[in-house]
Symmetry: D2
Subunit: 388 residues, 4 copies
């Protein structure tokens, strides 16, 4: 039997970070559909992120993306966030949206472009100093589209060199999270295509280099929870970029495509000690709201992570281990599925009520009138755009 | 033994259509990299397409995309193309780049938006009347991102209704080619996800509705040449959108990712009678030159289709059939591979020389100075953008 | 709001067919692990199937597989089944386990082998006459391993010829269900690789030819519920072979890999009228219990289908349609997910109690002592083997 | 320009190892088709392997598989091989074909079974001592079929423990090659699913633990040549198990499914120094001849590796690097494709002639009458069976 009050305690301290770019317009290569009420500035994005925290109580930080969130005074931006009840979280770098990066950033054959890319990464560490951020998130779109286009190994040498330079620049309480992705926008070879490549680079650099798992960045059929379990065992899981997908890097709301997979992932997090704050695992969302309202979409994603976490915490560990150790295939699976099949929504509603929140975050947000307010306030000016 | 002069005759009458949008800037959702010398108008795109034909001799038509190629006078545009030595080919419709289409075009739950989309399709038939085009290419981005978002079956009813209305409007010598695609931009359910769905709709409508195979629109592992053989047997293969992919709808240069697959496809075309002009199979390219020079990229794609076709024509049909009929697995495969392993570049160079072309189209194009000329001429103004 | 009593009524008349071969030993190419208590004869398989029905109440028929279930007197076997409380269901043909079929059965290049295969299929219709079965299930392992090995189109001609001969032989109340499969055991080209190919053949033959969907036979990323919705709209969905998979045709317990997908499939069944007995959709299981106890595994699969069906029936159709029609993406998805997130196990336990069954079929089966009994009774002799 | 005589020199020292099990009967879970002339003993398998070397000149060793090739006196078997003109190569372990291993071998929850599995592995090192083999190939079918079935992390602990024990036992000139595989026969989680997992274990153990890449063991879309390049850069590529696949682990003849991929892999081998004997990369075949004659199938595979290698060696490294460094996407790709498009069969025929071999190994083998001879000699007795 699992102790419900312990589960509640654990859920109360959950910390899910939302990304500033999820509040802006986003889309596919075919079309970015404009929505109403979309923020126009980093501060307005923070305002929106604060709403997600206001109604869920578990989203107390917001990740920034440079240069989309470039401001003159980052310390002031961080202070603004605190006023709004949230903190600035990870700093996301961007070395993919400049014409110079057509053939790569830190792995570009041209040393001048590599230097430019590295300078951006280092500048992002300066921003971390100003905002007090712990995590630098590194995603590289680097790769090639055609066999022979560039030298795979030489690009690894360049990648290693850039990562070492960034690592060197990190302060005592800072680290970087190295992302990997199978494909897109590179369509033949990506310089960091899988967890193994990120892991190998991070391992050489040391404890301040950690792997981040974006749940949409794998080949079909990949068992993501295995990777989570493996990296936790190695002490190399830095965090998650949560989203969901049916096909490729669809960037849908978390848990929308395969709630059972999300549960299995959260189970391995709990099992491997990754839910303990001391483990330093960052639980971040990274998704694109192409067709759904953005703030509501974030709230739904946060709730879906909560529900999966609640189920993972409800797994009867003792019964599971007993069935596993005795080779009882169906029994072990039944214990596991029992937690998944449980409807945890009442538990979470109760928990919210206990902490002064509305039982239903979506309904409370809708009733708040915030959406109508920002649609009116933000009707002029340039809506913020996006990245994945 | 295969008769080389018959092969050459067949290659001489090859007809590959290039797409106007391949000459404009294109990219991924992350970035559209601007290139130099990119056309600014439909006429300039036609100028570029004419270069591809000039150096390859087998690309005598260019497909248009509405509204990207919207002009006041389509008859004049068609006349302009003829002056440049090419013809206007298929008319491609676009019902995916308007904010109204966020939840679909012809399958949208809103009847007013469905009407708007249908009107566009019908208008494209008017354009066909003006340009003398035979083929209307229908690609729908319609679908849903989330389970439950809309009713799958109701959307089929709407699709059927729209297709019937377009079919009804077609003239005696016109037809439509119905495209299918597994995913993107819809990430949960696409209304025409596979050849079976397109085929079923076309079958009900009649002979003027044909299926078009985009080689990048399938699930991993799909045997595309089977689909080609099957549709040819059913008399339902309307044409191809050629491109290549390693992962999803990568839209790389034709034959760049898997030249053996391209050969197998062309073999089934030849085997099933689809290379005979009377079969009405349209051989079109549809690709995005994200990082490579566009005209050169098109020439390379055209050459790759030529090479695959030459190899397909070189298969020793008698020897193959004999081995197949006797159950000689290795023998039959060996006959097949012998054609693929043959270096057909000398044959094609010879063929070009015989028809007054340079043996090496890429080298001839580079030497022509056309690129430098258009870089200078087109340095001002707005470069044309794209779609897939 | 959904009417719970109507849901219960619908669940009460559910009919899930278990396969005789699931009770025998099965495995992978690497190893068939022997289990204890495995049946040795068709009658013992029926005994086991009767247990599944005894404890679930919704599995009143068992499919046979010829020649694995070959007996001298099929009428007597059918009578035996009735005595045990179940009926003989579909007859499954087998034209893949004879050395003659190495290069195919009905599509083999050798006409004598094609004839032999066809004779087997026709003999299975004789068996249907004797058992009173309605459905003949046709799965062909036919295909090729190497490009060029045989002629794709000629094989389609042979397939069409064989199917027509079987169709001709069917009695008034008989039909065949035509299965498709992407790959395995053919590794280059399968003669019926997807629903489109099965559909096209069935459409030509007439109403007694229907498509059967094996949930494990698709390419990665295929949206199976789309196929279900599409075939129901066309009146061509004959039934299901349920199982689940993470990778290929894994043949795991139904709903074990992706319970949300199973729910979505059952929702489309309900939505499209396929749950109405008049629709004639056969709900069959087809799985391999490689490592789990077989009868318990079947009970679990049956329960998983029940749970998914209950959730599908609980979808608030009115609220869903309203949200869909108004383009409320998140609202429609929320209505859909509300049903999935509901814990229907109490409802099903209640339903069982009302019909005189134990609330927990697994516990009741374990407590019955049946397993210990058959382990003892069947300790000698040759355990039955398998097929997928 | 590439120096043809240097290419020939390199090709002359090529060493491809064939597997003893490829000469026995093999198949899928549906059927193992019996062929004629199949060896009945390890010595007869060596006889067949010697034929492959006799006609190709580049297959001077044969891998053994224990217990399929169990003999009383391994030194005598090794001596027999030498008499036949070949050597005993890698020793392949088998901990998947015993009923005890149903829930795993070295990762089984039962310590007694783990001990049994480890004992087998250690015994295989004894056999290496007797045969003089350098390489122990470790493939584990270990994994689980159902979520929750066993503890992912505990299984990693057990894996690490077993690998350490084997590592400890290795002699000075011995090493082990650790294989990974995405799935099959485990259908939910495989304990070593990807190169990252094998790499991480090998890295901790030291230089005598190396990763082996089976070209059929990856998720769809995986860029295998990236893995090859990455592992070579890390000094961790121990070797290959070559075969080819369209779908899963199809185990077809090498190069049969995607000759361009094989070329790209061999290019990275050459580029990364892996073709240098000092690199210690073992080039092994691992395939299943389900429907094709076995010796001929092996000869074809060996020839396909040769052809891919010849093309890889022909890449104009200087021109390629120049194009790459200048960011000339199409130019670099063209240099690369030029080598692939070259017909290297005449070069290889010439090379064979120069070394006293027939120009056409298949024709020479067929003409030799060996097949007819063994069909007669081996018509009685039990044909050898298989493994993947």
């Amino acid at each position: 039997m699992t102790d419900t009050s312990a589960v509640k305690d654990a859920l109360r301290r959950q910390h899910i970070e939302t990304p500033s770019w999820a509040y802006g317009n986003s889309g596919t290569r075919f079309k970015v559909f404009a929505q109403r009420g979309v923020p126009r500035t980093p501060r307005e994005k923070i305002d929106d992120a604060a709403q997600v925290h206001r109604f869920t109580g578990v989203a107390p930080s917001v990740a920034l993306h440079i240069p989309w969130d470039t401001v003159d005074d980052y310390a002031a931006l961080a202070a603004y966030a605190k006023e709004r009840g949230v903190e600035v979280g990870a700093i996301n770098t961007n070395v993919f949206q400049d014409d110079d990066y057509m053939l790569g950033s830190v792995t570009n054959p041209d040393p001048a472009i590599r230097r430019k890319a590295l300078d951006h990464l280092l500048e992002c560490v300066d921003i971390m100093d100003a905002t007090g951020s712990r995590d630098l998130k590194l995603w590289f779109s680097d790769g090639t589209n055609y066999p022979g286009q560039d030298d795979i190994r030489a690009r690894q040498d360049r990648m290693a060199e850039a990562l070492a330079a960034v690592y060197e620049r990190l302060g005592d309480h800072q680290r970087f999270l190295l992302e990997y992705k199978l494909f897109e926008p590179a369509f033949y070879m990506t310089d960091l295509p899988d967890w193994g490549a990120s892991y190998a680079h991070c391992l050489k650099l040391g404890p301040k280099a950690q792997v981040v798992v974006d749940t949409g960045h794998h080949a079909p059929g990949t068992n993501i929870e295995f990777i989570v379990a493996f990296l936790l065992r190695e002490g190399k899981l830095g965090g998650f970029d949560f989203n969901s997908r049916f096909y490729a890097d669809d960037d849908l709301m978390v848990g929308a495509a395969d709630p059972f997979q999300l549960f299995r992932i959260m189970y391995e997090v709990v099992r491997g000690g990754g839910y303990d704050p001391a483990a330093g695992v960052a639980f971040m969302l990274d998704q694109c709201h192409n067709i759904e309202p953005k703030i509501q979409g974030q709230i739904r994603s946060v709730m879906n992570v909560q529900e999966a976490t609640a189920k993972a915490l409800l797994v009867d560990a003792g019964a599971l281990r007993a069935a596993q150790d005795s080779g009882d295939v169906l029994g072990a699976n039944a214990v596991f599925m029992d937690a998944f099949n449980t409807d945890v929504r009442p538990l979470l509603a109760e928990l919210r009520e206990e902490t002064g929140l509305h039982r239903d975050p979506i309904a409370a947000y809708v009733a708040s009138g915030y959406y109508e307010k920002v649609v009116e306030e933000r009707k002029d000016g340039q809506a913020a755009g996006w990245g994945a």
